[in-house]
């Protein structure tokens, strides 16, 4: 396998693998936020802000994978 093929393969794998963990994580965050909102509707606003905060932290990992995709794609 030459270096360009390896870079392309790595680019695809980098984003694909980086999307797994944050996908599961955002699902857990949003699911638990929905549970909290249903149990205490009066706290819904605060729960929603905290949920977006948690999603932002989780999502950053997937975005690092996306950047890695562009870096490796540029190498190919």
């Amino acid at each position: 396998m030459d270096i360009h093929a390896a870079a392309l393969l790595g680019a695809g794998l980098a984003y694909g693998l980086a999307a797994i963990g944050p996908g599961i994580g955002i699902g857990i965050v949003a699911g638990n936020a929905v549970q909290a909102m249903v149990r205490q509707p009066e706290m819904a606003g605060q729960v929603r802000a905290t949920m977006f905060l948690g999603i932002a932290f989780t999502e950053a990992l997937a975005l690092f994978g996306l950047l890695l995709f562009f870096i490796l794609f540029g190498q190919a």
Partner: protein, 253 residues
């Protein structure tokens, strides 16, 4: 001439990453859009509050509601009563990033300047300097010590906790703050480009196939989604700025 440069259509997709300068001092289209967003932000925050009325105009109602949202939901809810000292940072930052993001779906412009790394990176460095300065001013060098050696952690665990805290607070924080905004807007812009270009190519190359409505419908749906993402990313950037400032003020957690 400048207006024509702002609304120009790039000849290929590589111009998204490599934009030529059109004016002295390396001013290119992205910088012009940045100035445009800054002017819009200034007018949005200046005109309605120059002569406030008892019976507000429409613009004043919108501006008051939006500014109150930043003051309360981002400032007071996160930082607490001391948020008054940091509103000079939070309010213009929120609206500037918001208008920069909304340029992504503005007709004839269709380019979010935040999808160039320079702007989010500079904002993140600015936020980094601000929250370090706030912590050092309030607690002195004890701020640095308490950040890397949190209170109540057993001594044996410090071998593990201190390097993690150093990396996460002083390196990952500014990088992830910049990358989050940048990569979100870049991904959205690429998605819109791909779907609109696909529908245009189907329409031009094989109009009898009648396949062009499918990617076009996706593109319209994603345009709506990108408005949501633009507002959300401006909110999250400002919210995280508030969270970092709060963690510098209150050391105990």
């Amino acid at each position: 001439m400048i207006l024509a440069q702002i609304v120009q259509v790039p000849s290929d997709i590589n111009e998204m990453f490599d934009w030529p300068a059109i004016l002295p001092f390396g001013i290119n289209r992205v910088v012009l859009l940045m100035f445009l967003a800054a002017i819009v932000t200034f007018l949005f925050l200046y005109l309605p509050f120059r002569t406030p009325r008892i019976v507000p105009t429409k613009l004043q109602v919108a501006a008051e509601a939006a500014v109150e949202f930043v003051k309360k939901d981002i400032g007071r809810d996160i930082i607490g009563p001391e948020s008054v000292n940091y509103e000079w940072l939070l309010i213009p930052m929120f609206f500037w990033i918001l208008f920069l993001n909304i340029l992504e779906v503005t007709p004839f412009i269709n380019f979010p300047p935040t999808s160039r790394m320079a702007i989010p990176a500079f904002m993140a460095v600015f936020v980094y300097v601000v929250f370090l300065f706030v912590g050092m001013k309030k607690h002195g060098l004890r701020y640095l010590f308490r950040t890397v050696v949190p209170e109540g952690v057993p001594k044996a665990l410090l071998v593990l906790v201190t390097p993690i805290e150093i990396i996460s607070v002083f390196f990952i924080r500014p990088i992830s703050l910049a990358v989050r905004l940048f990569a979100n807007m870049l991904a959205g812009h690429i998605m819109l480009t791909v779907f609109f270009l696909t529908s245009a190519a189907y329409f031009v190359l094989s109009p009898k196939l009648l396949a062009f409505p499918i990617p076009f419908a996706f593109a319209v749906a994603i345009t709506g989604f990108e408005i949501f993402v633009g507002v959300l990313q401006a909110f999250i950037f400002t919210l995280l700025t508030a969270v970092y400032i709060e963690s510098s003020i209150h050391l105990e957690h």
